[in-house]
Symmetry: C2
Subunit: 761 residues, 2 copies
Amino acid sequence: MNSQRPEAFRMIGQRIPRVDARDKATGRTRYVADIKVQGALFGKVLRSPYPHARVLNVDISRAERLPGVRAVVTHADTPGVLYGSYSSGIKDEFILAKDRVRYVGDEVAAVAAIDPDIAMEALTLIRVNYEPLPGYFHPEEAMAEGTVPIHPSDRNIASHRLTVRGDPDAGLREADLVLDDRFETDLQIHAYLEPVACIVEYDSRDRFHLWAPIQNPSWSRIIFAEAMDLPIGRFHCVQTPIGGAFGGKLEQKLYLIGFLLARRAKRPIRLENTREEEFQSSMPRVPMVIYLKMGMRKDGLITAKTHRIIADNGAYAKYAPGVVNLGTYRIDGLYRIQNVRNECILVYTNRPPTSAFRGFGNPQITFAVESMIDVLSRKLGLDPLEVRIKNAALPGDVTAHGFRFTSCGFRESLEEVGRMMDYQRVRRERGPNEGIGLSGTTHVCGNRGFFPLFDGSTAIIRVDEGGNVRVIPGETDVGQGLLTTFAMIAAEALGVVLDRIRVDEGDTDLSAFGLGTWGDRATFIGGNAVRLAALEAKKEILRVAADMLEANVEDLDIHEDRIIVKGTPSRRLDFEEVTARAVYTQGGSPIMGKGTFIPESDGADSTLYGNISGTYAFGAQGCKVRVDPRTGEVEILEFYAAHDVGRAINPMACEGQVEGSVAQGIGYGLLEKVEYKDGVMLNPGFLHYRVPTALDVPKMCTALIESIDPAGPFGAKGVAEPSMTPTAACIANAIYNAVGVQIKEIPVTPQKVLKALKDKR
Amino acid sequence: MNSQRPEAFRMIGQRIPRVDARDKATGRTRYVADIKVQGALFGKVLRSPYPHARVLNVDISRAERLPGVRAVVTHADTPGVLYGSYSSGIKDEFILAKDRVRYVGDEVAAVAAIDPDIAMEALTLIRVNYEPLPGYFHPEEAMAEGTVPIHPSDRNIASHRLTVRGDPDAGLREADLVLDDRFETDLQIHAYLEPVACIVEYDSRDRFHLWAPIQNPSWSRIIFAEAMDLPIGRFHCVQTPIGGAFGGKLEQKLYLIGFLLARRAKRPIRLENTREEEFQSSMPRVPMVIYLKMGMRKDGLITAKTHRIIADNGAYAKYAPGVVNLGTYRIDGLYRIQNVRNECILVYTNRPPTSAFRGFGNPQITFAVESMIDVLSRKLGLDPLEVRIKNAALPGDVTAHGFRFTSCGFRESLEEVGRMMDYQRVRRERGPNEGIGLSGTTHVCGNRGFFPLFDGSTAIIRVDEGGNVRVIPGETDVGQGLLTTFAMIAAEALGVVLDRIRVDEGDTDLSAFGLGTWGDRATFIGGNAVRLAALEAKKEILRVAADMLEANVEDLDIHEDRIIVKGTPSRRLDFEEVTARAVYTQGGSPIMGKGTFIPESDGADSTLYGNISGTYAFGAQGCKVRVDPRTGEVEILEFYAAHDVGRAINPMACEGQVEGSVAQGIGYGLLEKVEYKDGVMLNPGFLHYRVPTALDVPKMCTALIESIDPAGPFGAKGVAEPSMTPTAACIANAIYNAVGVQIKEIPVTPQKVLKALKDKR
């Protein structure tokens, strides 16, 4: 691989504790809940208790009269325009319900009061007359003929797309074995520890200021402007430190409600979801029914793949259209399959709106595809690892959908997982009811085309007279450690110690317009922008140093905080001497560096054909499980993950990402199940919705494959999403290997295993 | 005058209410006291009760044991280095007393506790052993032979400077009348309504963050770094809205104490002076004894002027060396006197350190000089107005000290005052015990040389995709309305409505390095920087608009928020259309404009000869008083002020400045008297220290003379300081005119008038 020698780097490749770790561990980090604002009111939201109903009347008069209540808002306080997420083109939602509610949790009214108890009491004083309508809680049910339309759309279909590449029917005919099966995935709650919360101010110049843990501050303004029917300049968004996001902290309706309350009350508003509200009304993972057909030849070659997905959009279209259309075709590049047919149907139901969640549709389809590959292989008497290696994408490939793989460490990832788990030995020598499973994954590093005018990244670096380096990126740390990654990139490029660098959270009054953090774009796209900005600042610093040292700029470098003349170590200047000189003698202006990076990729055409990302990440996972045939319980004994991260900027952080992802994947595959009855969530909290604890997560071995991407910052790509994507299939495959039953619906509960074992007998 | 037609401006010259008025009037403005910080402790300072004493021992053990106390700091917690104000070169102060206290209020220790009561209680538990020393409370007493040195200096002299221009002795010989007199001015308290306060945080990366109403955030870092013996990069200063400053809110020791407490407690600290502390330990106006000699010919020509000033530095050298040396020679340019001798002796006493206060020494010397001109004129049988006009500086003058007057409306100011007050008529027809007085003034607009590396100004303007214009200046609004002035300048230069513009308070992590606001530099120097930055941003906006309109940049302009093609009104674009296009299509980067302005002046040589300001402001005042010969009380019946402001950016704001200044001058001249007994202030509060109320301030007529300075932004100069400077003399002259007694010590209390009347009889 085209690897730069590691010793050429001072910072990149080091195992660096997070720059924000100390503050987080000692409680100094100020999350939005820790920000105190003089005179702030407490807001609360009144939500529909019905999954589907007409709203005949909302009477707020008693609530308004309650002492301590400062504002009550309803649909009448909204601009009354339908809005939607920027990318989908679907506008189907009001900020507060007009004449219809569509899920239990749908926002009807909101209150601001001088304390939270009064606000809660005021909610009980709002009288809403509902006329219940039939509710639909599964997409296949909702799209049946004769249902009541949830929105004005035929058979409750929110979006429908068919994509064909090559000749899938011919491909299937070519196969020696074709399987045709139904898989199903369920809701998954983001389960970040920090609930969605915000502080909103409406200033005396009619501008809204939002402090919130928001993944995409700049971009959100566009949605806010649309929903509030105001110019985007009226919105100022400041990102507060994010206590977990996973795609769930893109723009949130709670902020819009905050705007309404703040404008009405003319006071700052504090709003915070309860945990119950988080479960009820945040935007969980899109459930999918996947009808999958794949063909394989006897030699293991996969000849074609077709899928028909029926996905649960929930009550309103957020990012689910993107999830189902864009997220589920990424897998098609993992293996060299040129015959593909994908049909995606997104259906309204009376469940919470579903949306973006780590992997963005990829974990759903990967569960199905990676499960089927194992079954195909085994039925043909082939080794699933060998089959995967045989079909694996390679560097230079152009996929059926037009993705161009400029770097690809998939094969190496598979081989490394095999090596780590001692695959061939474990395959032969396993205990009773033990099994091993494998799976693979690929993902974009930033999906082009969501915002066609600009979807690169611009970072600004400001160096002051005291030598402080402030990095103002367009992407946000969502808890994944981006502050550290960007600090390391800036320190490496500038040649200074990490302590000089401070990376900003997002602020739309300060940073460049940027799309924020999602789709594994932050390190690859944003990291490049930070690197370029740092190099520009360095150039300016060396220019000033050259004057001071009477040397040529080309002869200078910055090394560990010192400006040195290469080859003449005695001629050197401290970094701060130079920054002070630069600022004081150049009109007081801080040294500024700006870097803009736009990935080289041309985006997709209307059929979604095209290279939609500047590069792609890959990975493979393997695990060993033991199934208890009496209880159906699955114990994961060992877990292995190898991921092509391009370059590990900070190996410790990459491993942390992978380990956290696998844990989340274990939750997705085995544990996390939202229970519903008539549209009412029965387990909205951590007591009965089981996210994995330390006890559920096995010993994990992680390997980082460095394919050194030619376009990545120092070669780096993304890792946060692909490392979660393959986990569920990996576990299901191990169960299949252990006890011979293939579970096609996740989470794989003991009940499902028991039932399958019973059916098998 | 070289005046641009007023109608050529859209914004400049309009009477615009302050952009921050609504927030201030409705209580929305967040002063530092309104900022809430999670977990902040309350700090309190232990101060010396002795005017002069040895400190033998400080025992904090009991205070430390008090429950709720989180930190107690003493000299041992300081770096133990002497520091001083940047400009004086004198380093005579520790942050907390080492082995000596030098005035009542001198800082000895400080405490941080979980609530202010506990902090107060902890102070009472600190045991300090003092050994009293003799105290000196007047500079002429302190500089006597045989005094105990307050600091290691001969006869307690802190600084001494002699400046001679021309031949003063020959000048005096040329005169027909020479007067030689002693004048004395006293302490004056800044009496801003917002006490000095701060919030300090010490972060986990060893960086100090200060939120405070600070006039000079960038520059302060240099003093903080010196006092704390740390690199400047370790200090981050954020200016909070300032509730009055007048020179008193330059760097303050309270902030340094905050740093010590925050570092020790590892918690945010809130510190706030009580009103008593404000009187005791803020840095009041430098009292001066002025021995003045002036000669005048029979025709009214002033032939020479010499002064010997003995000034009270108080216990430590803050800005008093600058005040006495730089502030008192400015007057010498007001009249065309080429023979000057100035001797300035600054003496340590055991009173509070004195420092910068509106006028910076100029009100003191102006009181003496303008008093003596009236007496000289009258004794020679001349009209004081005609004498002033005869000697008045004119445009193009180069003064005895080398000041170059590129614009000068002094003569017009005198004439306008005469016209407004109907001078010739009132002179003849005045009631019993009524009198009229006049006075003149000149002042710098920014004194060069305080920070030789850079003392211009750089402003940054950021325009976002929503068309919001953020102005980041290097100067601070200190309550004088700079936010509005800068917003108007930016709006005028950009061609947009005022509502788009937001002007930042200071933030050293954001703005360019700047000297802040003092010395009437903000509008003249900073305003130019803002104008240049706005023009640069406009250029970029027009470049993008030219693409959109397929027009030439030269044919475009921005008018009232619209980009227009000159002469083709139908071809136009909204401002926000263009800013959105500019940002989205250029890598997300906001539109940035940067403007740097360095006044054309070469500074002063070691004898202080040279043009130390880019331009100079002028003004004249007149008043009519009535003296009650039985009580000695003086009633001001009418007050007139005409000031050469260059160009009135916002006439309403200029008039407000003048009116506020005159009120402060009335306090200085008539009312404000700090009473001391043995070094203890007897009236540290507004009950017994009388600042003028609305009832003390007469009807006022204000005229703005627009000399349109060639270098000023749209021709503007400063007005805040010169409008306070001449008031005391004006009143004293009117008293002299009314009852024939010349009061040479201010404030002119009824007692002094009565005594003078008695002495005269």
